[in-house]
């Protein structure tokens, strides 16, 4: 009978254990409010990074910056901050925030040409439209991850750079000194049209860190030259929508430098393409 009692004890112990775990996890879980930044939802983690970078720009305390960011327990933190700075640049966040992020990324050891360009660019006095740097959703805490933030719009500057292009025509406007001017522009017939801009200094060499604006069907976009060093120091590009009309200018100088549109063109005998453009701009100073 003693053997039966022992077996009965074990038979009771196992469902008891499972029931106890169920009670602790599902029926009476500890109240939320003891989480660390590592458990924040992804949009709030981005907000945490932005705030830490902005706070560091005031406090200038690398130890505090590292402590705040280390709390996120992200394996590739410097690269992630650098990517956030680049995203801010493409999405036209205020320059101050983008530079704070770039500085924080650099302090943590991130290295990229984009960071160098961002940090070398003077902050303009005109403040561009401020983005909503606060997530609008309020996810409820869950034991299993069920939260899925809406995907960020993909940067428009990552179109393939080797399209099947065919030169259509060349146009050279008369140069007028003293203001930035288009010295050359020509269309290219391609499958996915790009607006390529090359900014040259007065000495004819590519100039990095020049902010350009492009207004088109997607609204106003800001470009910065030099983010694709393989394409030249003064290079920037943006994907064009078929049939879309685009206006190009240099930030801080009012006049529109060029107006182009992506029109249908004949790529080959049986293939229709769209006109992308290559525009070369020379700065006066």
């Amino acid at each position: 009978m003693k053997g039966y009692a022992g077996i009965a004890f074990l038979v009771g112990l196992i469902p008891g254990l499972l029931g106890g775990l169920y009670l602790a996890w599902e029926i009476f879980p500890p109240p939320p409010g003891k989480s660390s930044p590592a458990e924040l939802a992804a949009p709030y983690q981005e907000l945490w990074i932005v705030l830490a970078a902005q706070a560091d720009a005031v406090e200038r305390d690398p130890v505090t910056l590292r402590r705040r960011l280390a709390a996120l327990v992200l394996p590739d933190l410097p690269e992630r901050i650098a990517a956030l700075a680049e995203r801010g640049l493409l999405e036209n966040w205020p320059s101050g925030i983008v530079q704070d992020l770039a500085r924080a990324a650099q302090q943590l050891g991130a290295r990229s040409p984009a960071l160098v360009v961002i940090l070398a660019t003077p902050v303009p006095t005109r403040v561009p439209p401020s983005p909503t740097l606060i997530p609008t959703l309020t996810p409820s805490p869950t034991v299993t991850p069920t939260f899925s933030p809406s995907p960020a719009p993909s940067p428009t500057q990552e179109s393939p750079l080797t399209p099947t292009s065919a030169l259509v025509e060349t146009m050279t406007p008369t140069p007028t000194p003293s203001v930035p001017q288009v010295i050359e522009q020509w269309p290219l017939c391609e499958t996915s049209p790009l607006l390529r801009i090359e900014v040259l200094g007065p000495d004819g060499k590519g100039r990095s860190g020049v902010r350009l604006w492009v207004s088109g069907p997607r609204g106003m976009e800001t470009l910065l030259t030099g983010l694709k060093p393989g394409m030249g120091r003064g290079y920037a590009d943006v994907r064009m929508e078929p049939q879309g009309a685009y206006r190009l200018g240099i930030e801080g100088s009012e006049p529109v430098l060029a107006e182009v549109s992506a029109r249908p063109c004949k790529l080959s005998e049986d293939q229709i393409g769209w006109t992308g453009w290559e525009i070369r701009v020379r700065l006066s100073r």
């Binding site: 009692a5 029931g19 602790a24 989480s35």
Partner: protein
């Protein structure tokens, strides 16, 4: 008959002991871990850190509406700022202290300048 009673007793004892051990394990050894939380679910120490960062960011961008929206994630912005010294376990830097005072002033003056009753 006594034997069966002993068996049932041991079964009940096992259930109770298992339940107790399971509850303790679920609470202290493998506790529930909340994921995808909002700043309002952070530990008070981290909430204090968040508030300091919001105040310092306000010093940088002077965007009162944004600072207010960020603080609202923790509750009433003015109460959150006022309660900060009590919640912060780490010493607050002089820059953060002055940023908090500055933001508190701006929030108070904006709330007093707003017409009562809210928008029509």
């Amino acid at each position: 008959m006594r034997g069966w009673k002993a068996v049932i007793g041991m079964l009940g004892l096992g259930l109770m002991m298992g339940g107790g051990i399971g509850f303790l394990l679920g609470r202290h050894v493998w506790p529930v871990r909340y994921v995808d939380v909002a700043p309002g679910d952070l530990h008070p120490a981290w909430q204090a850190e968040y508030v300091q960062m919001v105040a310092l960011a306000y010093t940088r961008d002077r965007d009162l509406a944004l600072a207010r929206a960020r603080l609202t994630l923790l509750g009433d912005p003015i109460e959150v700022l006022q309660g900060l010294p009590g919640h912060s376990p780490a010493p607050i830097s002089p820059e953060a202290r002055s940023a908090i005072a500055d933001l508190l002033r701006a929030l108070r003056s904006s709330s007093t300048s707003e017409p009562p009753g809210g928008p029509p």
